[in-house]
């Protein structure tokens, strides 16, 4: 066997040009497939990172009405049935095995009544958060201080802004101590938070993924306790849970949503009017299944690339036929060699093995060169177009094995022909 491999290399080496041309089809096919697979994997890794976030494990559980997220523009649009999440419900969610921490927040999308000095901050979001919000969302305090217990108990009118909002409002000035008016109520900025640099932005929907660079006007955070100072009432809240691990994200989201939805039913029973509006598709909490969305996006990018793989496979087929052709020529050329070998005692199986090995070595070499070329091509694609690429080691291994298989399949017919050669016929030729 090893002897066969050695002899095959010798044979390939003594016909360098011919061997290379024979391999070319395999090289091109394998190279294209490796380049395509690397781009698919690169894109997928990127999507996964952006969407799921590297280790943030954050799942948004949003209020929805007829399947759409509820955006609260004004008090009259708040769907009845949702309530402010009670401490008891929070505790139930926290008790779930898959959940590490939980937080709830109020949100208003219109912050038209927000001013710093004389300029309106109409794009910034306003959130009323609880004590666990920053921790759960993985936000890090950059300057100033966090919310403390007194802020909640004594309804302090304090504000923490994120780095984007701080930059928009105050530019290079120190944000701490600045007064921002929200619906004519003055709030003092006490801190600035930012995302962990290592953490990709938490994006929860496909459309957000596409606009996330343009959608960054910043967020202003106040305590949920201070929320009624501006809006008069406690308002219902969205929930965010941090799962124990990435694998637990789906389960954590679904279980938490179930607990939250139970609170809707309870309120429906107590109130006549919501029984009706709550029926049918109605309102419910829905976990934003990030993993599923990542998968959808990945499928989308894979689908186009899969077609390319089919096209590249045709090149492999053509390469395989080329190998078969050259092997047939080689058998004819080496008729007397085969005859001699049989005459001095080589069995059919020995000759078969020799030629199959030769074909397999030839195409495996083609495969290896193809993988190297493909990786090079992927690098070039990355340099030129900026598409993310990631080389997949298993894919490279499979590619080499596959080219070996091509050699064995397409080398089979010529090898059988060689093995069945009549030694007398073969020796008679000169």
């Amino acid at each position: 066997m090893l002897e066969n491999v050695r002899l095959s290399f010798q044979g390939i080496w003594s016909h360098k040009m011919r061997s290379f041309l024979t391999m070319l089809g395999i090289i091109i096919g394998i190279a294209s497939i490796i380049a395509i697979v690397s781009t698919i994997k690169g894109t997928n890794d990127q999507i996964k990172q952006s969407l799921i976030g590297a280790g943030s494990n954050r799942v948004d559980i949003l209020m929805t009405e007829n399947g759409n997220p509820v955006y609260i523009w004004s008090a009259s649009e708040i769907p009845s049935g949702f309530r402010k999440v009670s401490d008891e419900t929070k505790q139930k969610i926290l008790d779930l095995d898959s959940v590490e921490s939980v937080t709830c927040y109020n949100e208003r999308t219109n912050s038209g009544g927000t001013f710093y000095q004389n300029s309106a901050l109409s794009d910034a979001k306003l959130r009323g958060v609880d004590e666990n919000y920053f921790k759960t969302c993985g936000l890090i305090l950059q300057t100033g201080r966090n919310f403390v217990e007194e802020d909640f108990k004594e309804f302090h009118k304090v504000l923490i802004v994120d780095d984007v909002a701080a930059n928009n409002m105050f530019g290079k000035e120190n944000p701490l101590g600045k007064i921002v008016e929200i619906s004519q109520v003055p709030f003092t900025v006490v801190g600035v938070v930012a995302e962990k640099p290592s953490q990709a932005p938490a994006i929860s929907t496909i459309s957000q993924y596409y606009n996330y660079t343009s959608d960054s006007s910043g967020v202003l955070y106040l305590t949920e306790a201070a929320w009624p100072i501006i809006y008069s009432y406690d308002e219902p809240e969205n929930v965010i849970v941090k799962a124990v691990s990435t694998d637990d994200m789906e389960k954590a989201g679904e279980d938490a949503a179930k607990i939250l939805n139970a609170t809707i039913t309870a309120s429906d029973v107590s109130s006549e009017e919501t029984v009706e509006s709550g029926s049918g598709s109605g309102i419910k909490y829905k976990a934003n299944n990030v993993a599923e969305q990542a998968r959808k996006l990945q499928d989308l990018s894979a689908a186009t690339n899969n077609q390319l793989i089919w096209i590249a496979s045709i090149s492999l087929l053509v390469g395989g036929i080329g190998v078969m052709n050259i092997m047939l020529v080689s058998v004819t050329e080496r008729t007397s060699e085969i005859g001699l070998k049989k005459a001095i005692g080589a069995r059919k199986s020995t000759i078969l093995g020799q030629f199959l090995t030769e074909a397999a070595v030839l195409t495996s070499m083609g495969g290896i060169i193809g993988v190297a070329t493909g990786i090079g091509m992927a690098r070039v694609i990355n340099k030129v177009s900026g598409v993310a690429v990631a080389v997949s080691i298993p894919a490279a291994a499979v590619a080499v094995l596959f080219s070996m298989l091509i050699g064995i399949i397409f080398g089979f017919l010529p090898s059988v022909q060689a093995a069945n050669l009549d030694p007398i016929e073969a020796l008679r030729r000169e």
């Binding site: 005459a343 001095i344 069995r347 059919k348």
Partner: protein, 227 residues
């Protein structure tokens, strides 16, 4: 008796015609004999040699090699007989041009599954026996005709076969090389190897102890050798 061929017939089918090439050939060879087969071109010498060498099967007849009926053997067993009991020498050497003398000689040992170290050792010994110990790593293209044929003989005897079959071994050699080759054959025969050799050349046939004539597929024993 090492070779016992009885009533061997060989026909070739040529289109609708049947061409008889061997007609009722019987040949008995004792162990250690040195036999030359002579005959004009087309008389069926090579055909007979291929049957003796287990490369071909007769149309009818009986053939026992070393007491064993070889005509009933399958392909694989025939290959084993060729490998273990028979050494072949051809008119045109039939060496692998890309391999060194040593590798050519070691080839039958590869098929016999001998380990590489042992293989090289035994191939070297065989080359020494034919007087080519100083040409071990030469390629066939770097050797003279006589040297090439000696490499071929080394290959034929490397598995220590009982029978050496040679089809016009001197056909491509000059008279000096031919004489050296015959001396080598004589030496091997003295060591107990049975030799069956085909030749056109009465001078070469003279080296054999027994000469068999074949004419138009029929065989006849010559009573006075080298006549």
């Amino acid at each position: 008796m090492i070779l016992r061929l009885d009533h061997i017939y060989k026909d070739y089918i040529q289109g609708k015609m049947t061409v008889p090439v061997l007609k009722d050939v019987s040949l008995h060879v004792e162990e250690g004999e040195y036999v030359a087969i002579m005959g004009p071109s087309g008389s069926g010498k090579s055909t007979l040699m291929n049957i003796i060498g287990c490369l071909d099967k007769p149309t009818s007849g009986e053939y026992e090699l070393d007491g064993k009926n070889v005509l009933s053997l399958n392909d694989k067993a025939m290959a084993a007989v060729r490998l273990q009991r028979i050494g072949f020498v051809f008119q045109n050497f039939q060496l692998l041009s890309r391999q060194s003398a040593l590798e050519n000689v070691a080839l039958p040992l590869v098929y016999a599954g001998v380990r590489k170290r042992v293989r090289r050792q035994r191939a070297r010994e065989a080359l020494e026996k034919v007087g080519l110990e100083d040409r071990v790593n030469f390629k066939p293209t770097q050797l003279s005709g006589g040297q090439k044929q000696r490499v071929a003989i080394a290959r034929a005897i490397v598995n220590k076969p009982k029978i050496l079959l040679a089809d016009e071994p001197t056909g491509a050699l000059d008279s000096k090389s031919s004489r050296q080759l015959m001396e080598l054959f004589q030496k091997l025969n003295d060591e107990g190897v049975t030799i069956v050799m085909i030749t056109h050349d009465p001078g070469i046939a003279g080296y054999a102890k027994r000469v068999v004539d074949i004419f138009d597929g029929e065989i006849s024993e010559r009573t006075s050798p080298a006549g």
